[in-house]
């Protein structure tokens, strides 16, 4: 009997130690006759004699709500906490455990720290999730890991196989160096892909590197049958401070492509220094190296000159001097000069480029001018580009129902053309009129807009362009009917001769829209006003957050549907999108899994 009692004690002690080890690090533990956990909302609801342990403190209540994302919760109905009774207990678990107890008697009496009431989610709302679980006991870990006991999973509202214990959510990885599974997907482009992630979270180095294996050969997909992709990035420097050195790396066995770059940025009160090195190579091609650095003088906000140097360790180089001058918030100037030499296996280019840009934006108009002069130092040729733009802010006329905009521009360019230079000089102006709509009888809305462009080429040939758009709309509840007339005319005046073309197109549009669904059909007519094609598309919300999307194009000349694609779409946990449908172009049914 004594041996039996001793063995019972030993077993009890062993299980106590084991369970305390298992539960160590749990932020929250809930036991209740009914617990509901929604994976989409990351939310827990429990009821019926709930016993919870929050940050080591016991709470007894009839109802319990907890949001894993917000790390806040509420217990209601005969709450017992720290040997006192409350009607409501609100708590937050961000850095420190904070709580507030409320009693609704003759007065509202509060105890603890002042906290705002959390937004509660009802069981009805949680059960709308694609995947939810019912359980008797749940623990929530420090990094959002959720484990349940006596679990009844539900998928799209249908009960699945019950499980004695189950990890309902793996949570986020802990903030320390770890290796974990990474990419797991199948696409027509890459085939099957499996990855392993190395997450480095150390005091002076942080980074994420992933090794992915892809397999195309087994699925008879085009491209290299199988291979490895290694990619990642990291930064050297103390946590929470500007890093000393950053790196990024990408390597794939397909084509033996490598891209590696190092980046360092040091910023003081007067200077900003950036150093960058990039190495890139591909099979059968010469490797590419580029070392660049820049130094910016940043003492004054209105004037910040910068010198940049670039070199490929051989003959290519680049030197540039640039600054912006911003003496007034509405006046901005950019000045730059650059000398560049590029040497490749077959060609050598050496250029010198100077550019100037100014913009002035007072309240009435907007003026900008830019000039670019580029010289080819080997061929001794020049290229010039000058442009001036003056835009007036749109004027509101007829009680703001008509908006009129004016724009004047001047462009000049000169570039080598054979042994001579080709020069193009084109001043012009643009007038645009648009309306917010006029009401017509029978509930019709008329929306006109007109654009007039006038350009003079070398001052001799004159181009005039009219673009107009007229729309008649009628709204009937969720349905909008519209008739659109789109016209454009272009005329060229050469001394006394006028040449030109005019096109008028007619479209009919039917649109249906509710809060969650929409569908539209557009009827396109040709110049002879005969039906050319019909374009129909829609996005209809169904039950279980499913949506049906379709797109089709009917060609009247061929008298058949040339394009059709329709599919059911479901967004799972905000991580992947699953599409199941049919495509007429490929004449195939398809299942697409799109990572978000």
């Amino acid at each position: 009997m004594e041996r039996f009692t001793r063995s019972c004690w030993i077993r009890a002690l062993f299980f106590t130690v084991l369970s305390s080890l298992v539960l160590a690090g749990n932020l929250l533990e809930i036991k209740a006759p009914y617990i509901l956990y929604s994976q989409d909302h990351k939310y827990i609801y429990a009821c019926g004699g709930v016993e919870a342990k929050v940050a080591g403190k016991k709470i007894r209540s009839d109802y319990f709500y907890y949001s894993i994302r917000a790390k806040e919760g509420q217990a209601t109905g005969s709450v017992e906490f720290m040997e006192k009774k409350y009607d409501v207990l609100v708590f937050k678990l961000s850095k420190k455990f904070k709580w507030m107890g409320i009693n609704f008697g003759k007065k509202i009496e509060k105890a603890g720290s002042p906290l705002s009431m959390p937004k509660l989610r009802s069981p009805d709302e949680l059960k709308k999730a694609a995947v939810f679980f019912e359980a008797h006991r749940i623990t929530v870990g420090k990094y959002g890991k959720v484990k349940g006991w006596d679990v009844q999973p539900y998928v799209l509202g249908a009960p699945s196989i019950p499980l004695s214990s189950f990890i309902l959510d793996p949570g986020s990885p802990p903030p320390k160096t770890n290796i974990r599974p990474g990419t797991l997907r199948f696409t027509r482009q890459d085939g099957a892909m499996v990855g392993l992630v190395l997450d480095i979270k150390e005091k002076i180095y942080r980074g994420r590197y992933e090794t992915r294996y892809f397999e195309r050969g087994l699925f008879k997909l085009s491209g290299e049958p199988r291979g490895i992709i290694f990619s990642g990035y990291g930064s050297l420097g103390r946590k929470g401070k500007t890093s000393w050195l950053e790196n990024s790396l990408f390597y794939t066995t397909e084509g033996k492509y490598l891209d590696f770059s190092l980046y360092s940025r040091r910023e003081g009160k007067i200077f900003l220094f950036v150093l960058q090195n990039r190495v890139s190579s591909r099979q059968y091609e010469k490797p590419y190296y580029w070392l660049s650095s820049s130094l910016r003088f940043k003492k004054y906000r209105w004037f910040q000159p910068e010198i940049s140097l670039g070199w490929d360790y051989r003959s290519s180089y680049q030197i540039s001097l640039a600054t912006y001058i911003n003496p007034h918030p509405s006046l901005h100037m950019d000045l730059s000069w650059m000398k560049n030499q590029q040497v490749t296996s077959y060609t050598t280019t050496r250029t010198s480029t100077s550019s100037f840009h100014v913009s002035y934006n007072p309240s009435i108009f907007n003026f900008s001018a830019s000039a670019l002069l580029s010289r080819d130092l080997l061929e001794k040729t020049k290229r010039k580009d000058i442009s001036l733009n003056l835009n007036f802010r749109p004027l509101s006329l007829l009680q703001e129902s008509l908006s009129a905009g004016f724009q004047f521009f001047f462009m000049f360019s000169s570039f080598p053309y054979g042994n001579d230079y080709y020069e193009k000089l084109s001043p012009g102006m643009r007038v645009s009129l648009s309306s917010s709509g006029y009401s017509l009888p029978m509930g019709l809305i008329f929306l006109p807009s007109l654009d007039i462009n006038q350009t003079w080429e070398r001052g001799k040939i004159s181009w005039t362009e009219f673009n107009y758009f007229l729309s008649f709309q009628k709204e009937m509840g969720n349905l909008i009917l519209a008739l659109e007339i789109n016209g454009n005319s272009r005329y060229k005046l050469r001394q006394l001769w006028v040449e030109g073309t005019t096109n008028v197109f007619l479209n009919g549009r039917i649109r249906w829209r509710t809060a969650h669904s929409s569908a539209s059909a557009v009827f396109y007519f040709d110049r002879n006003m005969s039906l050319e094609r019909i374009n129909i598309r829609g996005d209809i919300s169904l039950f279980w957050e499913l949506s049906f999307r379709f797109f089709s194009l009917y060609n009247q000349r061929l008298r058949k549907i040339t394009i059709f694609e329709g599919y059911l779409e479901k967004n799972l946990r905000g991580a992947i999108k699953v599409q199941l449908g049919y495509s007429l172009s490929h004449k195939k049914y398809f299942i697409r899994i799109i990572p978000l």
């Binding site: 019926g48 069981p123 008797h136």
Partner: protein, 136 residues
């Protein structure tokens, strides 16, 4: 093939060691909606709330949907202004042993001045819901 799948499912259920009677069942009533409305109207068998267009009026009605209730239930509505109880109502519904999957309750409040108010809804002495609202 179907038999094999069924056998597999039964085996899996057996391995999971959870019998159906041990599975969680929601035993408690819960409030799925608390709203302040202008009134209610009956459309066939349905009670439809008439919401305020914009701000809450000076004489609102508490509209409540309670789900999953069994037997006789007492719903207590308490209204507080500046943390002091100013109004209290009690509504009883249900018969012993009967189950109600959805119960719609409403209670008109007395005309009130502009200000912020707090509603506390108790079901069988347990506080199930709180709602803060503003009359403008």
């Amino acid at each position: 093939m179907k038999k094999m799948v069924l056998l597999f499912l039964v085996l899996l259920g057996f391995i999971s060691c959870v019998s159906v009677k041990n599975l969680p069942q929601n035993p408690s009533p819960y409030i799925s909606k608390i709203d302040l409305v202008k009134g209610v109207k009956q459309e066939g068998e349905r009670i439809v709330p008439l919401p305020f267009k914009g701000k809450i009026g000076k004489k609102p009605m508490v509209f409540l949907i309670l789900k999953n209730a069994t037997g006789v239930n007492r719903v207590k509505i308490r209204l507080y202004s500046k943390k002091i109880l100013i109004e209290e109502y009690e509504i009883s519904f249900g018969k012993p042993g009967e189950y109600y999957s959805r119960v719609v309750l409403w209670q008109g409040l007395k005309a009130r001045k502009k200000g912020t108010y707090t509603l506390a809804i108790f079901v069988n002495r347990n506080l199930l819901g709180i709602k803060k609202f503003r009359i403008e």
